[in-house]
């Protein structure tokens, strides 16, 4: 039985307007589905609302909410946005259709009317307001969710767009899943003996473990990581794990805050599944193309941090991307400004690359831009991206950042 307090009852009854009433109805349906006993207050919301996912119907819905009186439509907790479907400053460079951009503008106008901060980033945990251990959140991107839960010890389920919007309007989510101690225990133990150097290695490890995940509530515990990864390395690991496994939480013994020791998160007599270099190699081999044809190189999913952009800029400085290949990198508007100011954008632009802001590749109508630009063979250092784009009519190849840059310059895939 899902219990509501007086304020929640009032919102459900419509005392605070139809937007909050709709939001309460959404939260209750999901809460009952997962046998939640109550709602829990959240301190920030990360909203995914790109127009490829929204479609015309979703944009119309947002415009409907935006049309309510201001007191009824304003969000109740700080709410930031995930990447959007178009970079308004650069969409023509990748031949995006005007109709998609127009839809994107309508969605952005509606979201602004709700008091939502258009941060347009999936790395808000690196760039906007990193969550704190124990903080209850409504995060709406699998990568931001797994990072907040695992690396920072905050508490959130995957809150997809309608649900994150409901959380923003009410300040609450149903208390189930990863808000509860019992679901945060590890369920499956992995002993890793692998050499992890490049971001793509960390992503590959996430993919290998993610493929073994059978349900949302399975929590992998990773042992054998000798020294703490960087924020960007564990970002790629988590994003790939969440993408392949639909997994919102992992523990890394000695690294993540809830797993100081193995026994803190799982019975230390539980059998461990061994993950070795051979598993990583087999995964990479599954993404090896038949020939060296290359159309586009993409650095995205997650958006690049300032440090990753600095690394990319250094690799591209003074070089030229081959005329038959496109090179695209995506980041947040804040980091793009920093890259402009710190002479990083110039190095990427100068080599013929395109640095986009506020977007991610797969959220920009990837199928249509692929067709418009003749992109079919795509190389990336993001295991998450190569996973997603398999369903978008791309042949995807995973390589290190260095291999991706060398291939872009050569005009063909080079190892």
């Amino acid at each position: 039985m899902l219990k509501l307090d007086d304020h929640e009852q009032a919102m459900l009854a419509g005392a605070e307007g139809r937007a909050r009433q709709w939001a309460m109805q959404q939260l209750i349906q999901v809460g009952r589905f997962f046998d939640a006993k109550e709602l829990v207050k959240v301190s920030q919301v990360h909203l995914m609302a790109d127009t490829e996912a929204l479609g015309e119907e979703g944009v119309r819905f947002l415009e409907g909410i935006a049309a309510y009186p201001e007191a009824e439509r304003r969000v109740r907790v700080p709410t930031v946005t995930d990447p959007r479907g178009a970079d308004f400053t650069a969409y023509r460079r990748i031949k995006q259709k005007e109709e998609f951009v127009e839809l994107e503008k309508r969605a952005a106008d509606a979201l602004r009317a709700l008091g939502i901060l258009m941060t347009d980033t999936c790395i808000n945990y690196q760039t906007i307001l990193p969550p704190v251990k124990g903080e209850h959140l409504a995060f709406g991107d699998t990568g931001s969710t797994i990072y907040a839960n695992s690396v920072l010890g905050a508490r959130t389920n995957f809150e997809g767009g309608p649900s994150a919007l409901s959380a923003a309007l009410t300040g609450r989510v149903p208390r189930y899943g990863f808000h509860l101690d019992e679901h945060r225990r590890g369920t499956t133990r992995f002993a890793v003996e692998a050499w992890l150097a490049d971001y793509s290695d960390w992503g590959a490890l996430g993919a290998v473990i993610g493929r073994r995940m059978r349900s949302y509530f399975e929590v992998p515990v990773i042992e054998g990581i000798a020294s703490a990864p960087t924020s960007d390395q564990i970002k790629h690991f988590g994003a790939a794990l969440a993408s392949y496994g639909s997994t919102p939480l992992f523990h890394m013994v000695g690294v993540t805050p809830e797993a100081g020791r193995l026994s803190d998160v799982i019975d230390d007599r539980a059998p461990a599944i061994s993950i070795t270099d051979a598993d990583i190699s087999a995964y990479r081999a599954s993404l090896t193309p038949a020939d060296d044809t290359l159309h586009v190189v993409v650095f995205a999913a997650p958006q690049l941090s300032l440090i990753e952009l600095q690394q990319l800029g250094a690799l591209l400085d003074g070089r030229k991307v081959h005329p038959s290949v496109s090179l695209i990198a995506t980041t947040s508007p804040e980091i793009k400004s920093a890259a402009d100011r710190l002479d990083i954008t110039r190095k990427i632009d100068g080599a013929g690359g395109i640095l986009l802001q506020g977007v991610c590749f797969y959220q920009m109508h990837a199928r249509e831009i692929g067709e418009a630009n003749g992109w079919r063979r795509l190389m990336s250092n993001s295991a998450k991206l190569v996973n997603i784009l398999g369903g978008y009519n791309y042949e995807t190849v995973l390589g290190s950042m260095e291999a991706c840059v060398e291939s872009a310059v050569a005009g063909r895939i080079v190892a």
């Binding site: 589905f33 490829e52 991107d141 997809g160 398999g390």
Partner: protein, 142 residues
């Protein structure tokens, strides 16, 4: 007379009857579907190339990202959605998407639902109780 009743956890949405499209594979609207043409578009998916429009879609687990939470409503609005979703294991995204779209959804069945139901079965789906009734087998698919 029904052939069999399968029990799941109480779900989301209204009762519906329809013809099953089933496979022992997983599901994400963004990762697996061509939502313009209403077919599975991921080459490695067990239902690759098949139309899910108007079907009772039966698969194993929710996979992938958060986009499905918005997408199910858009698919329904354009008349290019499934008529219900039956999974062994939904995740919050499927539940949120079903609630937003008004799409019937049931999960956590007493047996592997992808083995119990076969493509072509006609079934009645009752989310309020979590019941799925098999009404007829080997229905000729429209």
């Amino acid at each position: 007379m029904s052939l069999r009743l399968v029990k799941g956890h109480p779900g989301i949405g209204d009762d519906v009857e329809g013809v099953v499209l089933a496979a022992a594979d997983n599901f994400s609207a963004r990762y697996d579907l061509d939502r313009i043409n209403g077919v599975f578009s991921r080459p490695s998916h067990a239902l690759y190339g098949q139309s899910y429009v108007g079907r009772i879609l039966v698969l194993n687990a929710a996979k992938g990202g958060v986009a499905t939470a918005w997408m199910l409503r858009e698919m329904q609005a354009r008349g290019l959605g499934p008529s219900a979703l039956l999974l062994n294991f939904a995740n919050p995204i499927m539940a949120q998407g079903a609630a937003f779209a008004g799409l019937p959804l049931i999960d956590r069945f007493e047996a592997d639902i992808t083995a119990v139901l076969k493509s072509g079965d006609r079934v009645r789906v009752s989310p309020s109780t979590g019941d799925v009734l098999i009404l007829d087998r080997d229905v000729v698919e429209p």
